[in-house]
């Protein structure tokens, strides 16, 4: 892999646009920031001249706090915006909203939006660095980066490691970004879930499909478990959560029957007792809270690397 010193784009819209070398650069930078956030004084002055707007047109806890902490630990000025308490309700368009915010001299935009491609649309129309914090069912690049970064703390290399993504693949931007990221890093990826929640033609992305969770778990080294996104499902894709949990839920008994120790991940929010049981989520096999810690370091790295690029 060739090394690179900078990102080629001014934006992080999706993992699809990043090269393996750029992903590695983000990881190397994040490693340094992880050291920073574990100091007694968890702050560096790198972005003291940068103003960042966090635009969240969709609910979020982890990602939003994680981005905000990352920005503050880089000494950036931060403004927060959520759609529920803004002029969007009064009928303002996305472009107008963002252009108004930019007139107040904002340098970077972190945006979550329910429409796939919203960030890409913005990047073509406005003059600011844009970071996608999740656009509909499309991509969630920083989540995929922090997932892979967390895996690399367990394994020295992801080449030929078997990674399972289980759950609602169809509605998950985490799944898509993870697939792009893991394939670029050389991992084997399998998805598992009810047939109605596996997108057609997903094999074209170079992943395998498995409908039996036990077989899938036996195959993998790491299982990234996703939530059923009921809020994105207009129609019934599964008979009931209870039935889903019986067929695809991961519990300690199932894990113990595998005969090997796999690593369990979850991007949150967890629906305990549905896709994953409490004894699994809280077990020593789970690195769910490490993922959250790494999230701040990864976002600091992304913000830092983009801030170095002039518009």
């Amino acid at each position: 892999m060739t090394e690179t010193k900078e990102l080629s784009s001014k934006h992080i819209l999706g993992i699809k646009d990043l090269t393996a070398a750029e992903i590695q650069l983000i990881f190397n930078t994040a490693k340094n920031f992880k050291e920073v956030i574990n100091r007694p004084i968890k702050k560096v002055p790198s972005l003291r001249d940068v103003t960042i707007a966090n635009l969240f047109f969709e609910d979020s806890t982890r990602t939003r706090i994680s981005f905000e902490l990352a920005e503050k630990r880089l000494s950036a000025d931060v403004v927060n915006f959520s759609a529920s308490s803004s002029s969007v309700k009064k009928g303002e368009t996305l472009l107008d909203t963002v252009n108004n915010i930019l007139s107040m001299k904002v340098d970077m935009i972190v945006m979550r939006h329910p429409a796939p491609g919203a960030c890409s649309f913005l990047s073509q129309n406005i003059n600011a660095n844009i970071i996608n914090a999740g656009d509909g069912t499309h991509e969630h690049p920083t989540q995929a980066l922090l997932d892979a970064f967390s895996m690399l703390e367990v394994f020295p290399d992801l080449k030929n490691k078997n990674v399972l993504i289980a759950g609602d693949i169809k509605h998950s931007r985490v799944a898509l970004s993870n697939i792009f990221c893991l394939k670029k890093l050389g991992a084997n990826v399998k998805v598992c879930g009810p047939p109605t929640l596996i997108p057609k033609f997903i094999q074209k992305l170079g992943v395998e499909v498995e409908y039996d969770i036990k077989k899938a778990l036996e195959w993998c080294d790491v299982a990234n478990v996703l939530r059923i996104q009921l809020e994105r499902q207009e129609i019934k894709y599964i008979p009931s959560l209870r039935e889903y949990s019986q067929y695809f839920g991961i519990n300690k008994k199932l894990l113990n029957s595998l005969g090997k120790k796999i690593t369990i991940m979850h991007p949150g929010p967890i629906n305990r007792g549905v896709e994953i049981s409490s004894d699994v989520a809280d077990s020593d096999q789970s690195i769910i809270l490490q993922q959250v810690e790494n999230g701040v370091a990864i976002r600091m790295a992304v913000l830092y690397l983009l801030a170095g690029k002039r518009l």
Binding site: K5, E35, R39, I41, V44, P45, S46, G308, R310
Partner: protein, 181 residues
Amino acid sequence: MSKGRTILASTRFELTIQRLAQELLENYGDFNNTCIVGIQEKGVVLAKRIIELIEKENIKLKVPFGKLDITFYRDDFRTRKEPIKAASTEMDFLIEGKKIILIDDVLYTGRTIQSALAALQDFGRPDKVELLCLVDRRFNRHLPIQADYIGLTIDALDEAYVKVEWRNQTNKDRILLFAAK
């Protein structure tokens, strides 16, 4: 880059480093409540060499040593043409109330040292900070920063470029002066 001229090498180079180590030994003796901090990356190499000499001189000594990376403290990272790669910071002690000897290879504009002083603050309030550098380009300063221990003073034009090479990296210890970068 033009061809560089060697201005310090072999025996004289070794003697210079030995003298710097001796100066520290004279002033700090048992290095009680004192730590050495090298600035990544070349400052760390120099710091290691000096600590090696100090500990050889007084075998009972174990000098606390930290590596400081100042990339995230630079004030020019958004205006530079070339991106800079961060190295690791390894400071596994707090510097509250301690004496610090900051070490870098070349003191030029003073901006690196300014950033390093800002970075040091994040590890506590030191009692005293002193600066040691192998090369002092005394007429090129942008800031009122001076070194306390100097290996070699060089008078060079702003366009000139000074490079220190280390034997564990290039097989040869030497200081080179280039007319332009």
